[in-house]
Amino acid sequence: MRRHDWHHALRQAGSLLLLAAAASLVLWAVRSDRLPLLADPDAYALDLPVPLISQAEARRLYEAGSHLFIDTRRADAAGGIPGALVVREASFADDLAAVMDFVYPEDSLILYGDATPLPVAAVAVRFLERGYRNIWILQGGLTAWRLGGGPLREGSGGDE
C-alpha cells in the first residue's frame, strides 16, 4: 500500500470510529438498562479461583474465631485485621514457612488485600497449589472491612 492509501484508510477509520461513538452514545442514552459509566470492580466475579465472602459474613466469622485471616498486602501497608497472618505473593514461600505452625491445609482461610480481589486471587492460587482448600477472598478487602466498622490493628505489617 502506498502512503496515500494509508492516509486514506486512516481517515476512513477515523470517520467510522466517530460514527460508532455517536451511535453508541445514542444507544446508551435510550436504553433503560444502560450500564453506569464507571464499573464497580467488586461487581464482577472475575472468575476467581475461590469464592468471595462479604464483609458482614467475614466479620461474623472473625467474631466466632473459626477462620484465619491472611493479609496479602505489600509489606509496608499500614494497619490490618488484628490476628491476621501476613502471606504475600512476592515472598509466598518464605511467608508461608514463617507461619507454617499456625496455618494448616485443613484450616479455613479468608484472604484480603486493599480493595480489589484480583491481586489477592494470585495468593489464593498459591495456597490452592499447596493443598489448601477452604479459601475465601474478602470482598472489598480492607477498605470494605474498615467501612463496615471492623476492628483494625495499628501500625504496619501483620502477625508473622
Partner: protein, 154 residues
C-alpha cells in the same frame, strides 16, 4: 494485468470483505443486546482496567457493527478493513494471553453466554478472519462497493 486476473482480484477482495463484514456484524448483535454480560466477558480476560470496562462494553460492539456494515456495503471499506484488522489482532492477543495464563473463560466473541471457551480453535478462526480482513485493506479494489458507485473507490 489482464482483465480476467483483475476480475479475480476484485472478486476475492469483495468476497473477503463480505465474509469479514458478516462475521463482525453477527458478532456485534448479542453484545449490543446484552452489554452487562459482555462487560463480564471482558472482565474475565483480566486485561481491561475496571475504569474502562463499561465504556468498552458499550463502544466495541457498535464499532464491530459499523465495521461489519461498512465492509458489506463497501462504504469507507478500506478504513473498515483497517479497523477489522486491528480489532482482530487485539482479539488474537487477548485469546493468546488467556491461553498462556490458563484462564478457563468464555470467549465472548459471538455471544455472551457461557459457551465458546477460549481455545486454539478460536485462535485459528481469528487468524483466518485477520487474513480475510487484510485482503480489502491491501487490495483496495472495491468495484462492487458503494464507494465505487459514489465515485470514491480507492
Amino acid at each position: 494485468m489482464s482483465d480476467r486476473r483483475q476480475t479475480f482480484i476484485d472478486l476475492l477482495t469483495t468476497a473477503c470483505a463480505w465474509g469479514a463484514g458478516v462475521v463482525f456484524l453477527y458478532a456485534s448483535i448479542d453484545k449490543i443486546q446484552h452489554p452487562a454480560a459482555f462487560a463480564q466477558a471482558i472482565a474475565n480476560y483480566r486485561m481491561v482496567p475496571a475504569l474502562l470496562l463499561h465504556p468498552f462494553a458499550w463502544y466495541l460492539p457498535v464499532v464491530e457493527a459499523a465495521v461489519g456494515l461498512a465492509l458489506i456495503v463497501g462504504w469507507q471499506r478500506r478504513g473498515a478493513a483497517l479497523l477489522a484488522v486491528l480489532m482482530t489482532a487485539m482479539f488474537i492477543a487477548a485469546i493468546t494471553t488467556a491461553l498462556l495464563r490458563g484462564l478457563d473463560i468464555s470467549c465472548g466473541c459471538f455471544d455472551t453466554s457461557e459457551g465458546g471457551k477460549v481455545g486454539l480453535d478460536l485462535l485459528l478462526r481469528d487468524i483466518v478472519l485477520l487474513v480475510a480482513a487484510a485482503v480489502p485493506l491491501v487490495m483496495g479494489r472495491d468495484r462492487w462497493s458503494l464507494d465505487a458507485w459514489l465515485g470514491r473507490g480507492q
